[in-house]
Point group: D2
Chain length 377, copies 4
């Protein structure tokens, strides 16, 4: 693991998620650019002393030199955005598969470069857009792709949070500090942090690709340097349209990602507040409540569930699904086998490139007086 | 009553609502431009033969000639949009108070003219934007206006329907036919029919006034002549922004109007699916569930409730609240008394003018390549 | 109307409900045993002076003498329980149909007597068990009776309230005073007031008849004279069992009647908090959300709805449905026609007798050391 | 681990839960009484060959002989009920702390014996009643114990399932087979399997102790040998009463444990369908929605949460909380430190004894013609 030192939120989530199914073991780490902090964290995690590294460069170099049976199989990178590209590049080029936290890079140029590097490397690359790891989000996608709702016409996706309603970055809150700092976060604040999630889930569930964006981007809290609120109209490649919003200043909201997709005959609705339920609506018959853990679901939903119906799984399990599918693919490659299509269903490099293009387009549109900005990669 | 003949939806709603509290009696009507149909409907409603009229002109003329104790006190106009202005004008000019279904007129020019006529007349004018009749919507407004949430920063309002997912107007469905016909509905379809409701509730609850609009307006069902889907970004006079959407092609949706308003410290959320509940959210303490019929509500909510907590009231009661408040004001005027502020809280001519301006602005913005269009009256 | 003077809750509900659909007009009343109060109330309701009576006896006697076209068609009795039997008897014997508030009488003996009187009279009798007036409760019954769930196995019904958590009857709260007074309420407090509703809806939806009861009946608030809390196991005639509870001391609860009925293959769930939704659950496929106002419902549900889907109806409309169906039957009888089966679906004398038997059985069981008490009429 | 071989549900849950926080490592196991199956499972779990044992006796004996730094620290026992007592006894007597699946033993006599053995051993004992591991259930208990609701008056607890609606045990479903077999499950079926959970959470949240029970116990599915449905009235030591039901034949229900506890001034409500929410209701002010992961919760809730508000945790995390708290206590003992009170808040031997007493009392009451049966240990 690279990053995830003391006080980091997402590093701990990655560790629990990777660990969940007993198939992945943390064997080494460079947890902080401060060697002392890295050591501290590594000891807390019961790692062998010699595999706690002072920097990611040291780690990748040294691990690459270990015998195949001893060295790490892949690396998880959970640093702030400006420290995504270099470690990913180095890991791929040294023969390691990569799990990377989103958004993929600091800007689109880096993302496109990384795409090429990854393609050349032949290694697996997983970008942890958590929400597509939920079994009922996978079920939603399968149902939409099946065509049962007819042509898709409308997508609504929203991601309201309230935690940045005050200038939290002015305190010593580590999370708020880097996420609102252009030098570490990139061109976008909230649009990069959570807008990309909303964008990703919209394209994932609808199976559509965005072609144009019209955005309204705001900095609501005085003195903040990056956007903390925004909304966008989307045009999709099949002629459908969408509305996306993401905000961090909806005081009282937690993290209630919600997606609705409508076709000619009906549609689906999912929200993280009630993650094990998929609402399926119909024009002329009763809506249906599809539930995780039941026998009637698609193989994609079933493969990503650990407990029977009525035993709720949550955020950590969704996250763990990405790790598990990634690991199954890595294992398959190592043993020369073909991965199942269910295993391959984790967010990867293309999601990352599109996410970075979303950030650049939405921010450009926010500054433009023209209504529509082309979505280009 | 003018309009509301056989097969009309909103006419029947007006009659039930007016009748609900036993204070208003239907005494005469011109229910259809077809005299025979008008007669039929009047008889069904047990009206005296001589007060069933063949046209609204005849009705207003003849009623105006009756002695004060006999003639109608006010007129309800429930015709399609293109038949709103003339009867309203004639009624006001003949000394009758007016209840009119929304949107107010065929276009903004008519609306502004009617505004002047109403002002000159000294009569009460009620525009039946149903949703602001709900007690918990009134409570939401009172809480927002009280300042307890600090400055308002964000408004989300949505109105998803699915009933026009197919070309229903090609069948003989009367509702669909006139609502999708530019010659009867006006410049907008869905934006006029339900978008104006969303707009009205947004300004009502937030207490803010819209200054600019950026809209994406669509005709989704092939062959339809007016918009059946749309969304808009809103800018408000205090610097806050909003997102509004209204659609009639979200297959499987019924009529789930929903509003969320956020200030610096918290906010409110209401939706018609659960109309007797107001969710009040806070940045740093538990959300609260405020319920209709309880003792802790504002006088505005209490005045508009008939049953104790846990005995749900609904759409007809919300509609009836407008009639009741309007009637209380009319009675007060007739008896020379001053109406209470709670009675005056029904949508009127200003809401109507602003609604027509919304329609014109949102449609203009939909056609424009510029991002923002000024909201002007 | 008999009863329903100043300060009465249910009297006002009856008037709104009767009035809702414009087919019933209040023409006379004896609103209080105090002639002055009766007069006051009658004037508030705009009744003709000569038809405001000082006592129910006077009213029934005088109305009976009026010419058929002038006299009232039926009488609504909304007095406390100890004043149900005599006015009902006198009304039926003088040729008037009767609407009576529940529970039917002061005790079972009276109920059985009234049953005979009603049968002899050939008049319609409606007992206003509100909850079976909701369209989705009617839908639930139709679905259960259709056999689609297989044999019914289990019934859960609950009615939690909290309004009597304190000794409210010690204040001058009129509602609390008579409902907790054995001389006016009868053998039961909460079990009569709301337990009978729970019992009624359980038998109505399940289509089953109770054969045995095991009850735990409590007086929770110190000094109270009648039960304010209780629960009962039920045995039904087909071998199924049930659990019923009703309480008035669940502090914070409003009036959330809820029923769940399970058969071999699935079941139904309805609760008053969300009255326009019927949840239909299945052993091996997704649960379904059936909604009031939609096109796919049974004729029983459709007949009892006024608004399209998504325009919520509530308690007053459910109440009004009983009045409307009763009135349709009365009109049919008056015009010599056969009523439709949907019109006949209102609670009547048999529900009343069974309700009184429930009260006597549940109270007897509460006092008994034996587990089961036979349900006998 | 003892038990948890191929096809076992709860064994896998224990492994994920124990593993979740990276503090517990599975080092050895006797996964089946069939040595071959045990070996198979152990290999799947990547255990060292020499620590995969053919029987629990062998495992405990051999592990006890290993040097302190090498041997296992505690044992998890996840066998069917009839195989709980002997391994637990042997483990405790050989110096191992024990985690045991519920219900504790085959009968109450065994439970009382085990209680004495555990007390003598000085070892920690954890009984995995999952539901009290949820942070919001812990919050509920803390709020009730704080006295803020006044004296507790009423407890409702329910546990509806539908999975045994058909004679599943007649197929080769392993779960159904042993749970409906008196020789492996004990005196109770559903009452032991899920009724004990309901009982445990009721006493946990209310802080009360049961003194009397009146039960109705049923075998609904023909040919089944143990109860699959039941309900009980409860009397508590402070004079409060309760209603409990648990069923496995509510076709369409999953696993929706729900508890409601009411005091004089308000109460709490929690259900597993929405596990991160605690509803707090008040007699005379708005209900409150307390949410997991927020800053305003008690130390007990906070200590048992891994993610910020809005990132749902579920069943596995609740289960893991018991393991984590148990492990923290074991570590504290090993390092000679005093455990924090939050760590000690996991279900233990007393819960186990009371659970077995519940089973015996509820089954005895079910067979009795007397209303009340004393709850005795």
């Amino acid at each position: 693991m690279i990053g995830g030192g003391p006080g980091a939120f997402i590093g701990a989530v990655h560790r629990i998620a990777a660990n969940m199914d007993g198939e992945i073991e943390l064997v080494c780490g460079a947890f902080s650019s401060d060697a002392e902090k890295s050591k501290q964290q590594g000891e807390l995690l019961h790692l062998a002393q010699q595999r706690i590294y002072g920097s990611y460069k040291e780690m990748i170099r040294r691990e690459a030199e270990l015998p195949p049976t001893d060295k790490m199989d892949f690396v998880s990178i959970v640093t702030p955005n400006h420290l995504h590209f270099e470690p990913s590049k180095m890991a791929l080029e040294n023969g390691f598969h990569v799990v990377l936290d989103k958004p993929m890079t600091f800007d689109l140029a880096e993302a496109k470069q990384l795409n090429e590097i990854a393609a050349r490397s032949g290694k697996y690359f997983c970008l942890t857009h958590t929400y597509t790891g939920y079994p009922m989000v996978k079920e939603a996608r399968q149902q939409v792709l099946s065509g049962k709702f007819g042509k898709i016409r409308k997508v609504y996706v929203e991601y309201p949070q309230g935690w940045l309603s005050t200038p939290l970055e002015a305190t010593d809150q580590k999370q708020a500090a880097w996420r609102t700092d252009p030098s570490r976060s990139g061109a976008a604040g909230g649009m990069g942090d959570i807008g990309t999630h909303a964008f990703n889930i919209a394209e994932y569930v609808s199976g559509l690709k965005t072609t144009k964006i019209c955005a309204n981007i705001n900095i609501v809290v005085e003195g903040r340097k990056l956007d903390d609120d925004g909304a966008a109209f989307l045009k999709f490649d099949n002629g459908a349209t969408g509305v996306l919003f993401a905000t961090q200043i909806a005081a009282g909201e937690e993290n209630n990602v919600k997606i609705r997709v409508y076709g000619e005959k009906g549609g689906v609705q999912w929200q993280q507040e009630d993650p094990n339920t998929l609402l399926v609506k119909w024009l002329d018959k009763p809506a249906e409540i599809w539930r995780a853990g039941t026998g009637y679901l698609s193989s994609y939903a079933k493969h990503n569930t650990r407990t029977p119906a009525g035993h709720p799984e949550g955020y950590l399990e969704a996250f763990a699904n990405h790790y598990r599918n990634f690991a199954l693919c890595v294992q398959a490659q190592m043993s020369g086998q073909k991965p199942q299509s269910e295993w391959l269903d984790f967010p990867g490099i293309e999601d990352g490139v599109r996410g970075m293009a979303f950030i650049e387009t939405v921010i450009a549109s926010g500054k433009s007086d023209n209504k529509w900005t082309d979505f280009k990669i």
